[in-house]
Amino acid sequence: MLVLARKVDESIMIGDQIEVSIVDIKGDQVKIGIAAPKNVKVYRKEVYLAIQKENIEAVKAKPDIIPAISTLFKESAKKADDNKD
């Protein structure tokens, strides 16, 4: 990995369209500004990891699970309807 030291208000270019600048530094937190074309998606890495982890958890669904959860869902919907009367 390339490591560069930067000060506040300095920036780096990634290619000729992406600019990453250091906006502010306070204690252990760095504020980073990113200017990039709209088709470049920028996310916090933990969001990616959380979704990835959740997908791996979701794929463990048992093959015969849908009738059970569907019943659960419908019963809850029905209960609410009954309460209305």
Binding site: I51, Q52, E54, V59, K60, P63, A68, I69, A77, A80
Partner: protein
């Protein structure tokens, strides 16, 4: 077209149920072809990998328990799968089901978006911070019903 499915074994599936995910699904990037199976048990669906029988996701239409759900996804990202107008969007959330079924959750932060015309899909990241990875479906459904009473 015959597909081996986790839920129903070998199954005859219509070509129109085939969905191409050019970027895969996060954590399963190498799997690009899925079939969308109507589970006959609304409001749930199966998204079944055509290549690996064990890889299948339970999906739900978020609108059935969160009618206020919004897609915070850029025009550019939608265009990557050829979506030019909102009418072309099919949107689902992946459901995670723990042993206690009533604690099942839906991932509203990483929705599955499908172009209903071309049947190309992707998992997007919703930039609206209201939507999280784990929404308790039964709880939010109950809250919704209370509101409408």
């Amino acid at each position: 077209m015959r597909v081996n499915t986790k839920a129903y074994g070998p199954l005859e599936v219509d070509e129109r149920q085939k969905i191409y995910f050019p970027f895969g699904i996060l954590g399963f990037e190498n799997l690009k072809y899925y079939v969308l199976l109507d589970a006959k048990q609304q409001p749930f669906y199966w998204l079944q990998s055509m290549d690996v029988v064990e890889i299948a996701f339970v999906l739900i239409d978020p609108a059935v328990f969160r009618p206020d759900y919004t897609l915070g996804i850029s025009k550019e990202e939608l265009e990557e799968i050829g979506i030019k107008s909102k009418d072309e969007i099919l949107c689902f959330a992946i459901v995670t089901i723990p042993d206690n079924l009533s604690s099942m959750t839906a991932n509203l932060q990483g929705p599955i978006i499908i172009n209903r015309t071309t049947r190309v899909g992707r998992q997007s990241i919703n930039t609206d911070s209201r939507w999280k990875v784990r929404h308790a479906i039964m709880e939010e459904l109950a809250a919704l019903r209370q509101e409408t009473c």
